[in-house]
């Protein structure tokens, strides 16, 4: 481990870290926001479930590097534009979470759903204030997987020259020098751990009823 190299390059590494953070966080959020309505549609209309899940599955099998290369042609962006990364990872997150959201809504016990209807909830309000809150634990679990997978996928974009922690791996390979590679792995793990913790805490705060202890 060459600490001198790390010291000399601290500023560069920090800027890559910051870029990595938002390149992984933004698509996770956008993917979730898109997955909520699409997942709700897949849950609500059985015929759309198979279609949406199949498309999502196919989307997820596209290699990330291929998507990074193809997207500029489709979006009209330049190859180095970080927008390509954001769009590609948003699609991956969406692909992962549509099914999670649909299945999470399906996990809400039917009597609860029925009693919401019987009380006089309209469908959208029932979805937003009864079913979605109850689906949070399952959606949260899926979101953790998506967030962590985004942290590692962002690194691939280094091959295109988009600056983020993946650059450390390139530098390491090019110089046959392990310090940046180890630093890159440690920082990626750290980012993933931070995301994971944030989601875990958010889910806990949003679901106080799951920890209510029995007084019986």
């Amino acid at each position: 481990m060459n600490w001198n190299w790390l010291n000399r390059n601290t500023d560069q590494i920090l800027s890559w870290l910051l870029a990595h953070l938002w390149l992984a966080a933004l698509p996770t959020l956008l993917g979730l926001l898109l997955a909520l309505p699409l997942g709700a549609i897949a849950f609500r209309y059985r015929w759309s479930y198979a279609a949406l899940i199949t498309v999502a599955g196919l989307l997820y099998t596209i290699p990330s590097i291929a998507l990074f290369v193809v997207l500029p042609g489709i979006l009209g962006t330049r190859i180095l534009n970080p927008l390509n990364v954001v769009v590609a990872l948003t699609l991956f997150t969406l692909a992962l979470l549509v099914r999670v959201v649909a299945d999470a809504l399906d996990s809400v016990p039917p009597p609860v759903r029925q009693s919401a209807t019987a009380m006089g909830y309209r469908p959208i309000r029932s979805l937003l204030t009864v079913q979605l809150p109850l689906a949070i634990p399952v959606i949260g679990a899926g979101l953790r997987v998506a967030a962590v997978s985004n942290v590692s996928l962002v690194s691939v974009a280094a091959l295109l020259g988009v600056p983020q922690l993946g650059q450390l791996f390139l530098v390491g390979f090019q110089l046959d020098f392990y310090t940046p590679i180890i630093a890159g792995i440690v920082l990626c793990l750290l980012v993933a751990a931070v995301f994971d913790t944030i989601i875990l805490v958010a889910v806990r705060l949003a679901t106080p009823w799951t920890r209510a202890v029995s007084h019986r």
């Binding site: 009597p111 609860v112 029925q114 009693s115 919401a116 209807t117 019987a118 009380m119 006089g120 909830y121 309209r122 009864v130 809150p133 109850l134 679901t207 106080p208 009823w209 209510a212 202890v213 029995s214 007084h215 019986r216």
Partner: protein
């Protein structure tokens, strides 16, 4: 008043069509409990859910106070109808208070005032106010069911639909909930449609009983006493079961039963003249009724097993069975006699004090007397409800005498 006019519901299509409800015509009276009872697959829940349009009829009309339910926006209609579902169906993510406040909040009331009303309702269904801040998972099944009833009552709807509300709790809690429900209904006088597969529950709670057969055919619609004493057809007779004769005793008051004098022994005291009188048959237990200072019955003691000079303790007692109070039915009186170790059923007054004992032979005599004085003979239905046979649901016949 709720009317089903020639209501049918079929599920599936083509060859897979099955009738859940078949041409149901029935009039449900205001302020009474009407029970839909029948085996699974008889369409009782489907019928219930057609009242608040959770299920739409394939044909026919459901009217509430003369208004076709289809003319009312479904969510608006549902907010005006209380609904209690099996297992309560509470919202797990809301506190008990917020669960109860659901419908008032949907109707546009402020959360604050809805919670205040909810707190009062909590007390009304027999739960402490402190429970309001808990989540449903922190409540027992019986408590959840009470909250379910409170939630249905929150907007003070004139009509309540109850779908097997007490079937998921143990028998002791169920009996308790049924009793409290009866008491609550006596105060509130709601129009209640109650679905159950349990004929005992139907008989206990219903002012009128609609017995539904598989395929959604109305087999009989009458008072509980009528269903038990004059089942309309073989299906009803079979469904009502073998014990129906015994169950029917529930509807005959025990008022005229002779009450025999019963010597009692106070808890803590010893028999004045030794353990047992010499006149008592040797070799058999000699049962003496033991009461407490308030003359309330505590149990029976075999006087032969008492050592003289020592007071009777709780540990010596054989607990008696049920008690017959002055308002009890012949069924309760007979049960009191049968479940007592001495064969003599303890009769109590309104304050729970012992007034004597009733004997099984007197109950049997009372049954004989009631048969002689019966206003009608079997097979000839005098109640309007007895007319509904073989699915010929004559609207005029399908009304429960109130």
């Amino acid at each position: 008043m709720i009317n089903f006019d020639n209501v049918s519901k079929t599920f599936g299509e083509g060859d897979h069509r099955t009738a859940a409800v078949d041409d149901l015509t029935i009039e449900i009276p205001t302020g009474k409990i009407t029970v839909f009872v029948g085996p699974s697959g008889c369409g009782k829940t489907t019928s219930l859910r057609m009242i608040n349009r959770m299920i739409e009829p394939t044909s026919g009309t459901v009217l509430i106070d003369g208004v076709d339910t289809r003319s009312i926006d479904a969510p608006t209609l549902r907010r005006g109808i209380g609904y209690v579902i099996q297992n309560a169906g509470l919202f797990p993510h809301r506190t008990v208070l917020d669960n109860i406040a659901t419908v008032p909040v949907l109707q546009g009331q402020s959360r604050r005032s809805a919670r205040a009303t909810a707190a009062e309702l909590l007390e009304r269904v027999g739960l402490p106010e402190s429970m309001g801040q808990r989540y449903p998972a922190q409540l027992s099944g019986g408590q959840q069911q009470r909250v379910g009833v409170a939630r249905a009552l929150a907007a003070d709807p004139p009509v309540m639909l109850m779908d097997e509300p007490f079937s998921a709790v143990d028998p002791v809690v169920r009996a308790q909930l049924q009793d409290e429900f009866t008491r609550l209904q006596a105060e509130l006088g709601k129009t209640i449609v109650f679905v159950t597969h349990d004929i005992d529950e139907a008989v206990k709670l219903g002012d009128g009983i609609a017995v539904l057969a598989i395929g959604g055919r109305l087999a009989q619609y009458a008072t509980p006493a009528e269903v038990l004493s004059h089942p309309a057809d073989d299906f009803v007779a079979d469904f009502v079961g073998r014990d129906r004769g015994y169950r029917a005793l529930s509807f005959t008051a025990a008022g005229q039963l002779p009450v025999h004098e019963e010597p009692t022994l106070r808890l803590g005291s010893s028999p004045a003249r030794g353990p047992a009188p010499s006149s008592a048959p040797v070799g058999e237990p000699y049962w003496v009724l033991v009461v407490d200072d308030a003359r309330q019955p505590r149990g029976w003691v075999d006087a032969r097993r008492l050592t003289s000079g020592r007071g009777v303790e709780l540990g010596d007692l054989v607990l008696g069975g049920s008690l017959a109070d002055p308002h009890a039915s012949l069924r309760t009186a007979l049960d009191a006699a049968l479940s007592s170790p001495s064969g003599r059923g303890v009769a109590i007054d309104a304050d729970g004090r012992v007034i004597g004992t009733v004997a099984a032979r007197d109950v049997l005599r009372a049954i004989e007397a009631a048969r002689v004085n019966a206003p009608h003979s079997p097979g000839q239905g005098t109640s309007p409800g007895a007319g509904a046979r073989e699915g010929e649901a004559d609207p005029a016949a399908a009304a429960v005498p109130s």
